[in-house]
């Protein structure tokens, strides 16, 4: 009550806020949420940060070869951690001039041949080759190995290999690239450090035994191990405006508002739900993005209801949404399928069965429903098929008649009932029929 009153007062005060300010806010926050660029500080990964930083420092300063894997679920900040570490490293003069970086991504370098070319390119070794086309795969490999073999610990520039989506490199033939990279990291050649980023916890089991033996078994695990209090802190930090915001008084007001927001029960509930659902910070960003989009000149500060609305949108079930847009006939067909599923315990059905079920309903009960022709019903059924609410078990062949193709319903009973609740102007007998297949008796 107090909070809403306060916000109302604020609203009055701030009605004079200029549009420039608002667009500035949106720009800053959207950049923050979309680009995922490393914030000033990472949460709950100090230990991992120091480990990785020390590792890379030793590579560059002492020329020590190493290998490590950064493992963590999606959105846990693997890339952010690495970028942050690299940013720190580059601040050191000695490191900046001494480090060659090679960035590979398993989604881009889909086989070793492509990867080798990319490595050669990023190491700028193609200057040696001149302006000539790259040779065969075998020549490239020999060339690169030769190049790396020539160096030694004390005199060569260390090379940092960063393999994003490391698990995809594992599927390359013979794991040649990984073997060679790890082998170099375990022998007295050019100092290299291989950092792999992956979200798979079972990554070590995927490595071939001799590749595994050459890997140093340094694993840096990132887990979103923060609790709800920290989550709230993150929420505040993500939404706060930086000190260098042009309009200081507005920034002050905005930040005060953000600091006070989590005190609201609804905000807390919303955040709690999201936190229980996932600890991934990206979904928090998504939620905040929706909330921030509501900010206008007349509504310059985020309120609890904004967040609630955003949360509602965020949690929306996609299939149930589709059902909202269906016609009454299509809803009836879905209800018929639901009953068939109940009766036959999820066994597949065909159009004819659905049609019969629908006919039973029409004949016994329906006063408000028009008895549609079979082709019309068929058309409605096919629309459901296109929406993938219904899916054929096997591919439709030319020979099989469409009426008798076996189908599965891709909706759960709960979804159907929820959708019906929200469906506008649904005839009551249809609702009754949906609730119980026996209601017409």
């Amino acid at each position: 009550m107090k909070a809403s009153a306060m916000s109302k007062r604020k609203l009055k005060e701030s009605s004079g806020v200029n549009g420039e300010c608002i667009s500035q806010v949106q720009k800053i926050l959207r950049e923050r949420f979309c680009h995922h660029y490393a914030p000033e500080k990472l949460f709950g990964m100090d230990h991992q940060y120091r480990h990785l930083l020390e590792l890379l420092k030793r590579t560059t300063v002492h020329g020590e070869s190493n290998s490590a894997l950064v493992i963590g679920p999606r959105g846990s900040g693997k890339t952010a951690l690495l970028n942050w570490v690299l940013k720190e490293l580059r601040k050191m003069k000695q490191v900046r001039e001494n480090l060659l970086e090679v960035h590979l991504n398993g989604l881009l370098q889909t086989n070793d041949k492509v990867a080798l070319k990319e490595i050669t390119r990023q190491l700028q070794l193609e200057n040696v080759i001149g302006d000539k086309v790259f040779g065969s795969f075998a020549e490239n490999l020999a060339f690169l190995l030769e190049a790396l073999r020539k160096g030694d610990r004390t005199s060569s520039c260390p090379v940092l290999f960063i393999l994003d989506e490391f698990d995809l490199f594992v599927h390359h033939k013979n794991q040649t690239l990984l073997y060679n990279l790890f082998d170099i990291s375990q022998s007295a050649q050019t100092p290299v450090t291989v950092i792999g980023l992956t979200c798979r916890q079972d990554i070590l089991e995927l490595l071939e035994k001799r590749v595994k033996s050459r890997f140093s078994h340094r694993q840096i695990y990132l887990t979103n191990s923060f609790d709800f209090k920290q989550y709230i802190r993150i929420f505040k930090e993500q939404l706060s405006l930086p000190a260098e915001f042009p309009d200081e008084s507005f920034a002050q007001r905005w930040n005060n508002n953000v600091q006070r927001l989590p005190e609201d029960k609804t905000v807390q509930d919303t955040l709690q739900n999201l936190f229980h659902y996932t600890k991934d910070l990206r979904s928090l960003h998504l939620l905040l993005m929706l909330a921030v989009s509501n900010v206008t000149v007349h509504h310059p500060l985020i309120t609890a209801s904004d967040l609630q609305e955003a949360s509602r949108q965020h949690r929306m079930d996609s299939r149930a949404n589709i059902v909202h847009g269906l016609s009454v006939l299509e809803i009836c067909l879905i209800i018929a399928m639901k009953h068939l599923n109940d009766v036959y315990e999820g066994e597949p059905f065909n159009f004819q069965m659905v049609y019969n079920e629908f006919q039973k309903f029409i004949q016994r009960k329906a006063h408000s429903m028009y008895n549609f022709e079979k082709p019309v019903v068929m058309k409605a059924f096919e629309h459901l098929l296109q929406l993938e609410l219904v899916k054929p078990i096997e591919r439709p062949s030319v020979r099989a008649q469409r009426e008798y193709l076996l189908m599965n319903l891709l909706l759960d009973n709960n979804q159907i009932m929820d959708a019906l609740q929200a469906y506008p102007n649904c005839p009551t007998d249809v609702k009754q029929w949906a609730a119980s297949s026996l209601s017409w008796l």
Partner: protein, 858 residues
Amino acid sequence: MNTRQQNKITYSWYGKPMSSDRKLRTSQYKGILITSERSRTETCIQLGNFVLVEGENADQPFVAQLLGLYEDGAQQKHAVVQWFSHITEIPQNKRKLLKREISPQEVFFDQVPGYDTDIAVETIIKSIMVIPLRLGEELPVMLNKEQTFYVKQSWDGKCFKALSPDTFSKLKEARKKEGGIPNSSNSRIPSDIISPLKKETENVVRSTTKPKNVELEIESKHSASKSSLAKERHSQRVANDVKTPTARKKLQLNSPIRSPKGRLLGSEVLELLDDLCDAVAPLEPSATKRRVKFTGILGSPPKIPCANDKSKSVLDTAEDWQRFKDTIQLSPHSKVSDSSEKAKNLNMKDDTISLIGYQKRCSQSPVLSPCSRRICVQKTNTRIAEQVSILNALELNQEEDFLSSSDSSYSSNSEEEKDDVLCTPEKKTKSSRILSTPKSSRKSSVHTPAKTPKKTPLPGTPKTPRNATPEIPRRSHAAQKPASILEEARLRLHVSAIPESLPCREEEFQDIYNFVESKLIDGTGGCMYISGVPGTGKTATVHEVISCLQQAAENDDLPSFQFVEINGMKLTDPHQAYVQILELLTGQKVTATHAAVLLAKLFNTPGPKRKTTVLVVDELDLLWTRKQNVMYNLFDWPTQKHSKLIILAIANTMDLPERIMMNRVASRLGLTRMSFQPYTYKQLQQIISSRLNGMKAFEEDAIQLVSRKVAALSGDARRCLDVCRRATEICEFASQKRTPEIVRMAHITEAIDEMFSSPYINAIRNASLHEQIFLKAILAEFRRAGVEEATVQQVYHQHIALCRIEGMQSPTISEIMAICSRLGACRLLLVESSNKYLHMQVRLNISQDDVMYALKDE
């Protein structure tokens, strides 16, 4: 091919046996006649003569002096020789002992023990001259011909010595004798037996020496000519036939072969060529006589421009021969590489080759008769003019080679200007330029014996250059020296740090050493199969054996050998093994199929003076192909009589031969096996201690703990060292503020936990609440259904039920699907592709107990 096969070289004894040994059933001879059937030429080589002997590498024939000739009981002709070493045969590191520039024509009196001085007569290529010189003496500049070598010093494998007066005089004697032979043999045997070649070469030498050195800037690099000769022999071998290396002979031989291919030239040219061929053959006997006359003229100082020109033409011939040889021997090679070469390439080559033949003819013809020469020149020059335009296109591509060959063209150019007669200098220049082109075209297009590995890559070849020297840039700041004791320990514990010796592998070391050593001493070949799980020191031990053997060979305790290593994992394809072996052995870069042929030839044919090769094949199992021909060949070569190949094959599995090899491969691999057992904890302890070498960085107990832990897990030494390294980091980290301390048990435990603990438990504990409930729901569903698989829909119902119990808001299907895919991405769950939506099957990737254990503590 057929035409070539008809040509044979027969080796027959010259004269009656001087003496014979009844017991050994050998008879000694004083000379040998080398007869080429096709050309009807014979060469007589007598004891004491110097000869070129076919080497293992076509580029490098050996120089030797003939000391004895005999026929053994099996009718095999043998020769006993005194070897001379060319500079290229002397190890790189010893070359600097000489402290002076070595001319490519200089050879060393070879006193290296261990070379087989008994060779088969068939490997003799031809006779040459070797002139002994005093150490200080300059090489006589004028004798810049392929036939002549100089010897100043002797080489005994360790150091160079001046020739002892005894050997010097002996060599001098031999040389005199050789010089005398043609004349004396003239009197002894009918003139038709005297080799025309011999005379010719002598004439050439004389003509070059006498009409002053002015003309001798003609560039004919010794090495090139020498190698060309040998290559020719080499190519003969490949084509399975033999012939005397006379230029004319080759002309006759090759032009018919080539003519069907030289269609691009136009038929008239071909006709002309053939005509000329015919014309040459009958003229031959008289030609020799005439040439004798010419030499007489040449003997006098050149006054008449005509004579001068003629002498020059003789010179030309000589020079052209070399060139011609250079170009000519390409034929068998191109045959071999036909399959790989593009037709276009072939045509190009043929063009140039036949043109050379042509060109040669016109320069040679004056030797035959001055008038024929004119006609020829007139005729051919017009043709050449036509061809020049075609070749110009080639020239454009090979500009770089022009640079290298330009000096030769230049010299002939200046020559022309000097005695500018009969022939227009401009034309000649052009022709000589053209002459040089084929040389280059051969080098670029034919992959066979790459002669000079230092050659810069040719432009226009769309490949990774052979000799680009890739290098990672140097670092701009020097690497820091380890500052603390822990850093020092970490450095020593890195796997890459090479220890002084490998502890705990003494027995294996000895076994491998003995095996290789015995084979080396016997000069035979053999295989050994070494197996063991990763990280048990297989490769390290083998490398140590090799370096010990190399040390021993350097100290002359063992015959020297060549060491080659390939790694199955560093090859993109099993067949690349051939390419790498050949490249490491000879420096040639060829295609896989061609490399296989060359290697088979190398190992299957006897080569005198060839060193034993030790080949290490790491990660053998990756050389597996469906037909297993790579493995078969590898293990077949050592069984060949002359191969002198020792193979050490390394792989992980003990039963690899039985499991994946066909019987015929496994049988060739033989039964010499060795397996490396995983290290025991005591051994691991010893390894760490020996690496630390008395440094107080670790507690004794800590070392024991890590050894025992790793020995129990895998026995992998790499793991052990990695754990120790990590422990030093943890220790350093913990003691940052306080005084530096040593690694204790706690640090080791932490490192081991970090490396070996299962990540799943931790991952589950840090998952969000709904993710945990989802896992619980899966367990509940499994328990309900009794099957370890469920659809998302079923799990969803369980999930909702659990949420109701907990009094939580139940998630929507979309959320459930997202949770499911997140867990699937971490591989806590195994899920199908998501297009089945609710009917997607879900399984756990870890045991149910683990999940329960992880969730219980909450």
